[in-house]
């Protein structure tokens, strides 16, 4: 684990920006879901690929998970992964106002929808803070009811390291929770660092 790519100031700034971005995201997600959303303070790490699966496992625990990935592009390019513990997936239908028992396709669509909302809000919030333009590709299911360790194939990862930003969502009145992980490849870390510098300079 090394955050040497960032200076102390840059890291603090990133932490703060993410925090503000996420705060706004929490507000808009709350508006959509009609529930008060609690967000953890974002955790920021720079990890070698082989350390990413253990980092995910540490967040989620041993429960089997369903995960959705969504790419983002523009001034910042990377991927976001939203990880749900299997037991929480079933609460989504209720959360999104479906009364009836829903079929598998509808459940998956809900997962994709909620993931899209969370990713859009969080990354949109961060982009806004950085004054960056960002677009999103359609979300897709990564795995259903799988082991956390099987989510990412680190062999296929080109980047020597990645920025790993983790936020946990939970709802005040329900046991529902999920984890959002934003992953940026190494070249994008540099882009982000420049954006942070510009932000610091504008203060």
């Amino acid at each position: 684990m090394s955050t040497a790519l960032f200076s102390e100031d840059q890291r603090d700034a990133l932490q703060e920006l993410t925090n503000i971005g996420m705060g706004q995201a929490g507000a808009s997600v709350a508006a959509v879901l009609g529930e008060f959303v609690m967000l953890s303070v974002p955790r920021i790490l720079v990890l070698k690929p082989n350390l990413i699966p253990p980092a995910l496992a540490r967040i989620v625990g041993s429960e089997k998970v369903t995960a959705v990935r969504q790419g983002f592009h523009g001034d910042l390019r990377g991927e976001a992964v939203v990880v749900y513990g299997v037991s929480h997936c079933r609460e989504l239908a209720d959360l999104m106002g479906y009364d009836d028992v829903i079929d598998e396709a509808t459940e998956q669509e809900l997962l994709l929808d909620v993931s899209n909302v969370l990713v859009g809000a969080c990354l949109g919030g961060l982009a806004e803070q950085l004054n960056a333009e960002m677009g999103f590709s359609a979300p897709s299911l990564m795995a259903t009811e799988a082991e956390v360790s099987s989510l990412l194939d680190v062999e296929r990862m080109d980047s020597p390291c990645a920025l790993f930003v983790e936020v946990n969502f939970s709802l005040e009145k329900r046991s529902f929770s999920c984890h959002l992980v934003m992953l940026l490849p190494e070249d994008q870390i540099l882009v982000l660092r420049d954006a942070i510098d510009r932000f610091l300079a504008s203060l």
Partner: protein, 434 residues
């Protein structure tokens, strides 16, 4: 020729691009409806613009779509739908009227917020992408994969069955040669038994005659001269003549008994191995059972006590050698079901027009999931190499050929009973055929 302005170019592309593009204001009124949408919905832009989306297309999933659009407005962010979860938004004809494959066009949709200068979402633009070809290819691929998986599973199962069948063939081959060997040995033993038997008969009568002669001599030597008499007395004492006379008769009697038993075993073996015989004839089932029990006595005597509860049985028309095989199978199975020591009860009787033979053991019993399959060919719970898995299925078919039925009743931990019902007459058509 005049140049197109940027705005004209954008407008042209948005209208003519081979992707559905439409836009909605905050009240779900249509503000854009491109050529793709018009063509596929058969509703022109002039017809729909300015009208509420749900009024024009009441078949749309209203509450879901409203929520989707509201999210885009509230979060000022994209939203998506994928054909894999929601096959289509608008039910459009697909581009395969001839080749077919799906009921309607498969669509991926993107909802994008249209923002004003201040960054407020004033409209929501939706693009509808025709992904029918991808969807069909994807589904064909998935079907092929499933088919391959199914075939692989099938093959694994077949390979397993093949290995088992080969095992069983070896086993039945072995049994068949043992049967032939036994019949051959029985035949060979018959000849020496014949002359030993007849010699023993002669020997017995000779012994009787000798005894008569000896009786006549007994005491006569008392009158002999002293030297001769004491020599004979010493001889008589030396051999313990009284015991010898008694034992000689016993030995001959026991030997004849022993020989009778050998003859019985040989006869049973011969009776039993008359497998080629398929002619139905009148037979006494009690005799069949006794024969079978004699043949297998050795195999079961350490495991189980056999209790016979024979009722009154008329002779029935049957193929005795085949029924022997069934009885043997049931008795051996019963013995094998008993772990330490138990009882095998063989009972017979009549019920209406049928006779029954029941073999009950005090063994382990058969669990329900096994019970369902015990008459299946090649099904066995015995370790590889010890059971053919054919015994009960062959028994079943033999009883069926006899027009009878075989049922099993088992309780785990208590024991199992096989009961066979047989008609008095062998089925006519089969009797003629055989």
């Amino acid at each position: 020729m005049t140049e197109l302005t940027h705005s004209e170019l954008s407008g042209f592309i948005a209208d003519r691009v081979e992707i559905g593009v439409f836009a909605l204001d905050a009240d779900f009124k249509l503000t854009l409806w491109n050529r793709f949408m018009a063509t596929h919905s058969r509703r022109s832009a002039a017809d729909v613009l300015g009208r509420n989306l749900f009024e024009v297309f009441p078949e749309l999933p209203r509450s879901w779509l409203e929520r989707k659009v509201r999210h885009v407005q509230a979060l000022r962010n994209y939203a998506f739908t994928s054909w894999t979860q929601r096959p289509y938004l608008f039910r459009f004809d697909h581009n395969r009227p001839i080749t077919g494959g799906v009921d309607a066009m498969r669509q991926n949709c993107t909802f994008l917020p249209v923002k004003n200068e201040a960054g407020e979402v004033v409209q929501v633009c939706v693009t509808v992408q025709d992904v029918t070809d991808n969807a069909i290819a994807h589904e064909e691929l998935a079907a092929s994969m499933a088919e391959i998986e199914r075939e692989k599973a099938e093959q694994r199962k077949l390979i397993g069955e093949l290995a088992q069948a080969q095992n069983q063939l070896l086993q039945s081959e072995k049994l068949a040669s043992i049967g032939q060997l036994a019949a051959g040995v029985a035949h060979e033993i018959n000849n020496p038994i014949g002359f030993v038997n007849s010699n023993l008969g002669t020997l017995a009568s000779y012994v009787d005659e000798l005894m008569v002669v000896l009786d006549a001599y007994t005491g006569a030597h008392e009158q002999m001269p002293e030297g001769l008499r004491s020599a004979i007395d010493a001889q008589i004492k030396g051999v313990d003549l009284d015991y010898l006379r008694e034992d000689l008769v016993n030995l001959v009697t026991e030997s004849r008994d022993g020989l009778d038993r050998v003859k019985k075993i040989v006869q049973d073996l011969k009776d039993f191995s008359r497998m080629g015989e398929s002619e139905a004839a009148w037979a006494d089932l009690h005799h069949c059972l006794d024969t079978t029990l004699n043949v297998v006595a050795n195999e079961i005597k350490y495991k189980a006590e056999v209790v016979k509860q024979y009722g009154e049985l008329p002779e029935i028309e049957c193929v005795a050698s085949q029924l022997n095989q069934v009885f043997m199978n049931l008795v051996v199975n019963a013995a094998q079901a008993i772990a330490e020591q138990g009882t095998i009860t063989v009972s017979t009787g009549t019920e209406g027009e049928q006779v029954f033979v029941a073999v009950r053991d005090t063994g382990a019993g058969i669990p329900p999931e096994v019970l369902k399959r015990i008459f299946d060919p090649f099904y066995t719970t015995k370790p590889v190499g010890t059971g053919t898995g054919l015994g009960l299925s062959v028994s079943y078919s033999i009883i069926e050929r006899h027009g009878g039925r075989i049922v099993v009743d088992s309780k785990v931990g208590e024991g199992t009973e096989f009961k066979i019902w047989l008609p008095l007459r062998y089925p006519a058509a089969k009797a003629v055929a055989s």
